[in-house]
Amino acid sequence: MGFFIQNTSIVNDGTIVPAPLDRDEKSIITHGLIDPVQDIDRRPLTFVNSRKTMFLYEADEKKLRQILPEPLKLEDDLVEFTYMNHITSNTGPYLEAMIAIAASCEGTKGAFYTNLYVPESAALCAGREFNGTPKKSAHISMLEHGQAEGIRYKEGGNPGRRFFSFMIERNGYIIHSATGEYTSHQMSDLPRLPLYQGNPDWCRLSYRVMTEPDFQSTKVEVISTGSAKNMFAVKPDTIDVAVGKDIHTWALLATPGDALGRYLAPKEQKLVGVVSNTFNMYYPPSQNCIWTKTIHRTPEEVEALYNTSDPYTYTLRHSFPSPAGA
C-alpha cells in the first residue's frame, strides 16, 4: 500500500492576496481564474536595488528599420543591450535581458524594446500579455566580481565589481556573451548615450500582438509607458563604466530560435561601451495604447494559416534540448 499525503493549507504571513475566485470580478485581470501566474499583488510593480548593465553600440540603420514594425520610425542607430538583476521586486527575484532602440510612433518618442528575455513565467506573461513586451524565456547569467583596488575580499566587505561576465542561452544556443573590465565611474567617458537616457520627453514603447484563439483576428497595438525619468531612481555611487576597448569579449549569435544576432549586430565590430548602475524603479500600473490596428482573416485565410506546415513534420526549430523547466 502506497502512502497518500496531502497538505492542503497554504502558509500565509498575511501578505498573500486572496484567490481571484474569492474576490470581486473587477479585480480579476488574467487567467487562471483560481490560481493565476501573476496577480494584483504585483501592481504597481516596484523594484529595489536592481542592477542594470547597459552595453551600447551602433548598428546598421537599414537592418534596424527592417525589424521595426509599422508605424514605428527609427530615431537613432544606437542599440542598448541591457542585462538586469532584479534582486527584490514585488514579482519576485529575476534576471532580465533586453534590447532597445530609439524609435517614435506618430510623434511619441521612446525606447522601443525589440527583444526581452526572462527566466521565469510571471514576468514573461505580465510582459507579453499586458504590456506587449516581447519576452521569451532563457537562461541568463550576470556576474560582477573582483576588487577595483586589488584587495582580497574580507568578511563583511564588498566582493567588488571590477570585472564582468554576462550570458544568455536559449534552446541549446548561446545568444550573447560579453566579458570585460570597468575602468571608470563617469558616464561622460562614453562618446554616446541613448537619446532617451535621462530625457523626460521620451517614454517606453512596445508592440503588442494578440491573436484570438480561433485565429480570425489579430490585434496589434503600440503601447507607451510613462517617462523613464519618473520611473528610475539611479544610485549615483553605483555607476561603473567601461569604454569599448575595455569590453574584452563580445559574441552575439543568430540562432534558429532567436534572430537578434542577424539584425542587431554592432556596426564595424565596434562597441561604444558599457554602463552599470543600481537603481530603484516604479513601473506605472497602466500604460497607454497610442496606435492600434486589427488584422481580420476570412475562414479560408484561417484555414490556410492553420495549415501552413506539414502535420507531423518536425524541422530545425522543433528540435532542441528538452527543458526541465524552472
Binding site: G2, F3, Q6, N7, T8, I10, V11, V17, D24, K26, I29, H31, G32, L33, P36, I40, R42, T46, P69, T91, Y94, L95, E120, S121, P134, S137, H139, I140, R208, V209, T211, D214, I223, K245, H248, W250, A251, L252, L253, A254, P256, D258, S286, Q287, N288, C289, I295, E301, L305, Y306, N307, T308, S309, P311, Y312, T315, H318, S322, G325, A326
Partner: protein
C-alpha cells in the same frame, strides 16, 4: 586587452525550414510577438504531436471543491478528476513536458475537459496554450520510468517503476512514485466525460486595465483515427495501492488547497499522436473598470513593500 566580436548570419531564412520573419511576410500571417522574431510562428501550425506520452492519475474529489474551480458558465459532469503529466518529445512547439488537472464539465450542452491548473517546462508551449485559455505556468517537471534489466544491449522486459515530480518557486507541488501493475483499471474511467474536447477560460486585459474580456475557449474533440492515434500496445496501468502520493499547497500554487482528493483510483499511461483542431469561443463576457475601480480593485501591492510571494529562490531559466 582586446575586443572580440562575433556576429553570425548562419541561419539565413531565405531557404530551408525556418519561415522568413513576419514583418517580411503578408501581415495576415503575423500571430504573436516579437513581431520580427516571434516566440512561436506559423511553422508551428497545425500543432501536432508524435509519440507523446500521457500519464493520467484518476482521482475522486468532493463535488463542491471541483465546482469551485469552474467558471460560472460551466457545470460539473463528474467527481472523477484527472491529474496528468504529458511528455511531448516531438511537437511543433518543440520538446516540452506538461502537468495539469482536468475535470469534466459542460457549458450549454457542450461537454469538455476543463483544466483549472496547468504547468509546462517551456515558453513557446506556455504562450501558445495561454492564448487558448490554459492557465499555464512554468515549472520544473520530471517524469521517469525505469526498472528494466539492460542486458547484452537489449532491454529485458518493460520499465516497471515510475516517478513524477513538479516543483515551482522552491516548493514541491506534487510527486508520485510507484509500480506499473498492469492490473486493468476500469477503462471506462478513462472516458469519464473528459473527452479530448477541451475548454478553458481565457481572461485578457487591455494595457490600461480599463477592460477585461472573459472567453470560454472550446477546442473540439480530436477525431479518432484521423487526427488522434492511440498506441494501444503502450497502455499500462497502476493500482492505487501501488502508488505513493504527495500533493502540496504552496503560497504560489494552490492546487492542493482548492482541489484536495478523496481517493486515488489508479493511473494509466499511453502514447499517442495528435493533431489539434482550431479552437473557438463559445461564451464570453466583458468587465469594464473606471479609474476608481482600477485603483480599488487592481492595486493590491504597496510600492517597495514585498510580501512572502515576492520571495523565492532566483530562477536561472531553462
Amino acid at each position: 586587452m582586446y575586443q572580440a566580436h562575433i556576429a553570425s548570419s548562419t541561419f539565413d531564412c531565405t531557404e530551408g525550414s525556418i519561415p522568413i520573419m513576419p514583418l517580411s511576410r503578408n501581415a495576415k500571417s503575423m500571430v504573436t510577438l516579437p513581431a520580427y522574431d516571434p516566440l512561436w510562428d506559423i511553422d508551428a501550425l497545425p500543432l501536432t504531436y508524435s509519440a507523446s506520452k500521457r500519464y493520467s492519475f484518476l482521482l475522486e474529489a468532493e463535488k463542491e471543491a471541483i465546482e469551485k474551480c469552474l467558471p460560472s458558465c460551466c457545470v460539473l459532469n463528474s467527481t472523477v478528476v484527472e491529474l496528468w503529466y504529458a511528455v511531448h518529445n516531438k511537437s511543433k512547439l518543440g520538446p516540452h513536458t506538461e502537468m495539469g488537472i482536468t475535470v469534466s464539465a459542460s457549458c450549454e450542452g457542450v461537454h469538455f475537459g476543463y483544466t483549472p491548473f496547468s504547468y509546462v517546462t517551456q515558453d513557446a508551449a506556455m504562450d501558445y496554450f495561454r492564448l487558448q485559455g490554459f492557465p499555464h505556468k512554468k515549472a520544473y517537471i520530471r517524469t521517469l520510468e525505469h526498472g528494466s534489466v539492460y542486458q547484452n544491449q537489449k532491454l529485458n522486459g518493460m520499465d516497471d517503476y515510475f516517478s513524477f515530480l513538479i516543483t515551482r518557486n522552491g516548493y514541491l507541488l506534487h510527486t508520485a512514485t510507484g509500480k506499473f501493475s498492469d492490473s486493468l483499471l476500469d477503462l471506462d474511467s478513462l472516458d469519464y466525460g473528459i473527452s479530448r474536447a477541451q475548454a478553458n477560460l481565457k481572461i485578457s486585459t487591455n494595457c490600461d486595465l480599463s477592460n477585461t474580456v472573459w472567453q470560454l475557449v472550446y477546442r473540439p474533440q480530436i477525431k479518432d483515427g484521423e487526427d488522434y492515434c492511440l498506441y494501444r500496445d503502450t497502455i499500462r496501468t497502476s493500482k492505487a495501492e501501488d502508488i505513493n502520493w504527495l500533493f502540496n499547497a504552496t503560497p504560489f500554487d494552490s492546487m492542493a488547497h482548492y482541489l484536495p482528493f478523496k481517493k486515488l483510483i489508479g493511473m494509466v499511461s499511453y502514447c499517442y499522436d495528435a493533431k489539434l483542431p482550431l479552437a473557438k469561443t463559445i461564451w464570453m463576457k466583458k468587465v469594464a473598470r473606471t479609474k476608481d475601480d482600477i485603483e480599488k480593485y487592481c492595486m493590491y501591492g504597496i510600492p517597495y513593500e514585498n510580501g512572502m510571494r515576492s520571495q523565492y529562490p532566483v530562477c536561472y531559466g531553462i
